[in-house]
């Protein structure tokens, strides 16, 4: 155990671990400090300067996300100097991009928009000058509008530090800075594998889910937590629906085990099969080998199968019947399937594709 140290934040005496930052200590104690570039499990970079706080005897305001606490430190998070600085930062960010909430998919969950509102900014005091980047719209999964990018670098850190795909980085300098793959390529022409982590961490509408565009605004969506149905990792995911239609998928935002909020391309962008028009919707029977499959009722299908299986069992014995349960189905269904084969039919001829 590290020896705790005492600090004062907004007049509250707090005892905390010395390796923590001011931001961590404040957050753990219910004191809100706004942030934009900060993202859990990635390096603290202090890029956006929104988390500025006043520290007694410091020469200037300090970025709370990067400043470790010291014994006896006295911190103030809501002074006029702090708010003025935060307003300046937000107004500069606002005026340097095309932050048009009317058509933005992030409207209602944009962290820049939230801070504009929280800081009560009517409009920026600077003229709005958008950088004029072309919108990257040439793949079906991710849209990128760098005119809405605030260069917080979360996507770069998510790509390099969370997924470790090492595709994204900053390019150019100063007001020409931008984020993207090497050689200024589009995602689709780079070696990006479309895990979508950058999209999930983007605080604004710069990186958004293309399939979700115009499919429902954030407050219209219903979120259901479930487990991904692809590989054996069992990622926890949130599926968003609007009026019974699946709109998009995100890694579960409780960031728990086993995936800590991450997904891969299949989990995030591979779910259109669920509501695909090819889905089977009715039981089908072929009464004679040469016939086509014909739609029937469930009761007819059950009777047909039950009669056939009973007859085969009677003539050839239970071991002439076999069943394949499935690594795709639930535990409950696999349990019931093997119970059916063993107890109802009377054979142990049950297997599944574990070996394939």
């Amino acid at each position: 155990m590290e020896t705790k140290v005492n600090v004062t934040i907004d007049g509250n005496e707090i005892s905390a671990n010395p390796s923590q930052t001011i931001l961590q200590v404040a957050t753990n104690n219910g004191i809100f400090i706004p942030t934009l570039c900060h993202y859990q499990n990635t390096t603290n970079v202090g890029a956006c300067r929104v988390c500025l706080v006043e520290v007694e005897n410091a020469r200037s305001l300090v970025a709370s996300c990067c400043m470790p606490i010291n014994p006896g430190m006295v911190v103030r998070t809501d002074t006029k100097a702090v708010r003025d600085a935060q307003k300046m930062v937000i107004e500069l960010l606002w005026s340097s991009g095309d932050h048009n909430c009317l058509t933005c998919e992030q409207n209602g969950q944009c962290e820049l928009q939230n801070l504009v509102y929280w800081l009560k900014i009517e409009k920026p005091r600077f003229e709005i000058e958008t950088p004029g980047f072309a919108i990257e719209d040439n793949n079906t999964m991710i849209s990128r509008d760098l005119n809405k990018c605030i260069l917080c670098g979360r996507c770069v850190r998510a790509c390099n530090e969370i997924q470790v795909n090492e595709v994204l980085d900053f390019a150019n300098r100063g007001s020409h800075s931008k984020v993207g793959p090497a050689f200024d390529d589009d995602y689709i022409h780079s070696n990006c594998v479309f895990c979508g982590e950058c999209m999930q961490v983007c605080p604004t509408g710069a990186i958004t889910c293309k399939m979700a565009k115009f499919a429902g605004r954030p407050w219209e969506l219903t979120k259901t937590r479930t487990t991904c149905a692809y590989c054996g990792v069992g990622c926890q995911m949130d599926i968003f629906t609007n009026n019974g239609k699946i709109v998009k998928v995100s890694g579960n935002r409780e960031y728990g085990t086993p995936n800590e909020g991450s997904l891969c391309v299949k989990g995030r962008f591979g779910m259109d099969f669920i509501q695909h028009p090819d889905r089977l919707t009715k039981p089908l029977i072929r009464r004679n080998k040469k016939d086509d499959l014909k739609e029937v009722s469930w009761d007819e299908a059950y009777s047909f199968i039950a009669d056939k299986l009973s007859a085969i069992k009677k003539i050839n014995g239970a071991d002439s019947i076999a069943g394949l349960s499935s690594a795709r189905c639930t535990n409950e269904e696999n349990y019931l399937f093997q119970k059916f084969m063993r107890a109802t039919i009377g054979t142990n001829n049950v297997d599944h594709c574990a070996r394939l």
């Binding site: 199968i305 639930t330 019931l336 001829n349």
Partner: protein, 538 residues
Amino acid sequence: MAGLAAAFGSGAMTNSIAELEFTDVILATGTNTTENHPVIATKIKRAVRQHGTKLVVIDPREIDLVKYADIWLRQKPGTDVAVFNGLINVIIAEGLYDKKYVAERTEGFDSLKAAVAKYTPEYVEKISTVPAEDLKKAARIYAKANRASIIYAMGLTQHISGTDNVKSTANLSMLCGNVGIEGGGVNPLRGQNNVQGACDMGGLPNVFPAYQQVANEDARKKFETLWNATLSGKPGLTIIEMMNAAGRGDIKAIYIMGENPLLSDPDLHHVKEELQKLDLLVVQDIFLTETAVLADVVLPSASFAEKDGTFSNTERRVQRIRKVVNAPGEAKPDWEIIAGISTKMGYPMNYSSAKEIFEEISKVTPSYAGISYDRIEKEGIQWPCPTAEHNGTKFLHKDKFTRGLGLFHAVEYIPPAEVTDKEYPLILSTGRVIYHYHTGTMTRRAQGPSERCPESLIEINPADAAKFVIIDGQMVKVTSRRGVVEAKACITEKSPQGTIFMNFHFAETAVNLLTNSALDPIGKIPEYKVCAVKLEAA
């Protein structure tokens, strides 16, 4: 799984996914983790880049993980046992093994030592082409670690020597005292969402739920009482044996729930003939799959997003799935359909919900006894979880193996069932790509992944391409003793010289028309990773 069960007494991933990020050494073999388990790969990559973990990769293909590896052993496909015996040979010769652990917790060391004696690095180099010095380096990295984890997947098991390959990993891990500790272990990464659960639930021909043997009279009596039925004590047939029995006319009816053997099984021409001979083929699925097209009855089932239930992930963690949307048309959850048929056959199954079935599962499955829907509402629990107070098990075999002492197995290298010759000079190996999943039923209907990977590619080494006069992007024909397919060539150093790689996601390029159905004698896994083929311009 049979290999681990023989060595440890339990055939599941010994440790947890999260531990990979914080271990000293990871040895990855037969797993293209970045493509098949991308989220586990993030942890391996973070371990290497951020936490100083050393990574040893043993794989014939230059997979993405090689970029992150400290050392890469590129063995000839199918020579895994030789490589592992070689690593063990070096570790014993240099006295780097955990003598205390071997003495106290294992048995069979002397026979292992005798068996690996001839697998000197020089001898192994002759078999596998792995340079002797590299083998020694890798052996030292693994043996000198405080905690080292072995991960593997189907690249290790889909060989006729699959069970022996797995036993080799168990040998190496126990030799260095890595089983039963946090951050260690032997960790098969399961390829399908609920393959662990399907095994746990007794979806296997020889066991009831929780691996209770059907041949064991006590187990059988217990289930006869619980289920109020007379049960057979004769172990049943495995999937490939079923197909063969159908071909002989011994199996008359097959009921398939959510599987597509007509794309996933080896030597497809035979599978189709065998399925067509049946008196009754019932296929229950979400799409009209290649297999369903042959069926006498097709039953529409609900997808995972349209029902409640649980999946058990690769690290034995039982997690909830929840109903997100309604099933289309008259499609029903699989459990409702099974219950409907069973009830019609005079064995009533009256369950009102998946939860009610789970309650029965926890009654009859000792390793799941302490798990309930309420307990896994927020976070899944890892079995074994014997009581409602138990927190689940992060890693297995702590202090004691499931079977008591860990058992070393003396295993010998045997060549693959089919070796190359003049007519079929190349090795074909098969697997998945990141954008698709298994037989493609789901991902090929997903726009994004299909856009990124619209067609099957044959990965060919530049030297082989030159030899067979093939250029990048050209259509080529691949022929084995069993069939022929065509696809586009992708010239890449990823494939070693003499080996081509194809995926099995595309029905129009059904690579399993080519593969060999030769089985591992114990695991009954087909040898998907090695068969002999020839290559020519199409």
